[in-house]
């Protein structure tokens, strides 16, 4: 397998963040109270991350890939349980994407990716109600 380029890894992370922004919009509609508050807060977090990644890709002289208008969800979301499962699934995807950034040679990007992983793994644990041994390295349940 060839070395992962910084631009490719950043684009993958951006794609995951775009999907999370879309997915939280779906999940949030089925949540109430503190869970809905959390979904809104995390939606804002993913928007900010998306902006940061877009700026990083642009600074490297590359073009960010635009978000899709629609994302195919892994399962039907129709209640609190499935909304929380979707949120955890989205965060797992974000964690896996940032794990890819950890593999690039630039140490600053490695650190950025690793710290972002801690954020998304924490959010996934919140939605899932439990922690994982290897966030980003194990498949979503």
């Amino acid at each position: 397998m060839g070395a992962v380029t910084a631009v490719a890894a950043l684009r993958a992370a951006l794609a995951a963040e775009d999907a999370a922004v879309f997915g939280y919009g779906v999940a949030g509609a089925h949540l109430t109270g503190s869970r809905q508050d959390a979904a809104e807060q995390y939606w804002t977090t993913h928007n900010e991350a998306r902006d940061a990644l877009t700026a990083m890709i642009t600074r490297l002289g590359a073009a960010p890939v635009a978000a899709q208008a629609f994302y195919l969800l892994p399962f039907r979301v129709h209640d609190t349980t499935t909304a929380m499962a979707l949120a955890a699934y989205l965060e797992d995807g974000v964690t896996r994407a940032y794990l890819g950034l950890v593999a690039v040679s630039d140490p600053r990007l490695r650190d950025y990716g690793a710290l972002a992983m801690q954020g998304s793994a924490g959010r996934a644990a919140f939605w899932r109600g439990g922690t994982q041994a290897f966030p980003g390295l194990q498949a979503s349940p």
Binding site: P107, Q118, P135
Partner: protein, 163 residues
């Protein structure tokens, strides 16, 4: 005979390490991995001590058991990345205060004296996550990803412990 004719010494052909000079030093990534393994063993020791000081049906015990299980998974995966040469004097890395990154280090697998509080576990988890990220720049990509994943797990443990 050709070598002698050309004025070459046979020893000049063998530019590798001197086999009589002893083993070459370990690669930096191996040293780092050994230190991380030792640190993980210390964390496990802390958890075991914490659990030993709690009643079997005590509050919070299931969380500690679950987190200990994840650290044991961390250790197994880290050890799988380290292949010691056969018939070495020390097949397993030993923790040391200079490399483990934790205060109050103990031999791997043994319980530390005294009571281990949740606050101490939380601090140890936070320190572990921080230290692993600091090591990312010095190791190869695959090992960096494993460190980052374990660091993310440790970070979630801080929250699980009430942080």
């Amino acid at each position: 005979m050709l070598l002698a004719t050309a004025g070459c010494r046979s020893s000049a052909l063998f530019a590798g390490p001197d086999p009589l000079a002893g083993r070459p030093p370990l690669a930096p990534g191996v040293v780092t991995l050994a230190a991380v393994i030792a640190a993980e063993q210390n964390l496990i020791s802390l958890y075991r001590t914490a659990l030993a000081g709690r009643s079997p049906d005590g509050a919070g015990r299931p969380v500690l058991v679950a987190l200990l299980g994840q650290h044991e998974q961390h250790l197994a995966q880290l050890k799988a990345m380290l292949v010691p040469p056969p018939a070495t004097a020390q097949a397993s890395p030993r923790p040391s205060p200079a490399t483990s990154g934790h205060a109050g280090t103990t031999a791997p697998g043994t319980a530390a004296p005294g009571h281990v509080t949740i606050a101490r576990l939380r601090a140890a988890e936070h320190a572990s996550a921080t230290r692993l990220v600091q090591r990312l720049a010095t190791v190869e990509p695959a090992l960096a990803q494993l460190f980052a994943s374990i660091a993310a797990s440790d970070a979630t443990h801080v929250t699980a412990l009430g942080g």
